[in-house]
Symmetry: C2
């Protein structure tokens, strides 16, 4: 493809590290930043460097945060005996927004995926085992995604908790609110049917 110069090509290729950005979008973003919004571009470069410098993982729950220990882990009013295990930092935000849960979190930053070389070490499982061994946790809530990898990861962690006689729960599967039976996938429907509750 014809080129406009090395710095422009470099920016187009660097933008492709963003998820969901292909060559056409990267080119469009580059022209937009250079033609129309240089201020926004400079602000983005600065915000990116600041975040890379300041943001680390909480030493306790592994969420992204800007101090050694995140605000939720520092908050002593939160329940200390419940531990909710999620895949991503955004899952913590979603649960905080949607529920009244006031316990602890542990962020795996992914799920077990041996083919990609992601094993227990990469998910911080050794740190999780230490925590479970402290004997402060009475309930482990598994909130990994309902995908094959998420289920496998949940199963793996549930074994760790059971070995230590800790109660393990999993988010309920079933029909989403506002869903219509006709349009729900058969896996979900079968799950909801066999897991029916008496009212």
């Amino acid at each position: 493809m014809a080129s406009l110069g090395p710095s422009i090509d470099e920016l187009i290729s660097a933008l492709r590290c963003l998820p969901g950005v292909g060559p056409k979008s990267a080119q469009r973003m580059t022209f937009h930043l250079l033609e129309r919004n240089r201020e926004g571009g400079a602000h983005l470069a600065k915000a990116l460097m600041d975040a890379l410098d300041n943001v680390q993982h909480c030493r306790r729950c592994r969420i992204l945060c800007e101090s050694d220990i995140c605000i939720r882990c520092q908050d002593e009013r939160r329940q200390q005996d419940q531990l909710c295990i999620v895949e991503m930092p955004s899952d913590v935000l979603a649960i905080e927004q949607a529920t009244h849960y006031k316990g602890q979190y542990f962020v795996l930053s992914g799920h077990l995926s041996p083919l990609d070389g992601i094993g227990p070490e990469a998910l911080g499982i050794p740190r999780l085992i230490e925590w479970l061994d402290e004997k402060t946790i009475l309930e482990v809530i598994l909130a990994t995604n309902p995908t094959v990898e998420g289920e496998a990861t949940a199963h793996y962690i549930s074994e760790l908790a059971r070995e230590r006689q800790i109660k393990v729960t999993r988010l309920a599967h079933g029909i989403p609110l506002g869903g219509e039976l006709e349009f729900i996938d058969s896996g979900t429907l079968s799950h909801a049917f066999s897991g029916r509750e008496s009212i």
Copy 2:
């Protein structure tokens, strides 16, 4: 919404200056960069700053380039008497790739849009008039987009060229190659019908 910290929030909001990136994508990009691809993020910040420092507009044709005058304007083997007028730098690349055109370009960086405060000045029209007054140009090729604004801009420039007795041409409208009549919009079809050519 719950927050993970000021640097993270700042990065999420800064990413929204990219075209097509809303709050959800910006959040996903932020977590991806900070969790999975810090190297890519650092590279992006550097590429962005380099491009903002090095890239400017060619003084002659206003395309984005890294020197005072772009390579196409420096190339004396290109025809000096044809001038193709486009809206965006990417249009130059598209024409270079698809055609054998070897003349000059002029990049407007947009189209006339009085409501957004984009008038002739912002499109470099004074510079274009200087160029037309040099009397080196024998044909102006209008290659603005076939939108209402693009057509209005083309009309405006065609008047400038006609006043100076310069031949003006416009890219042909019609049925795109591989198109099926049934699925072509009525505006294009009516244009193609009334502009039919004898073979």
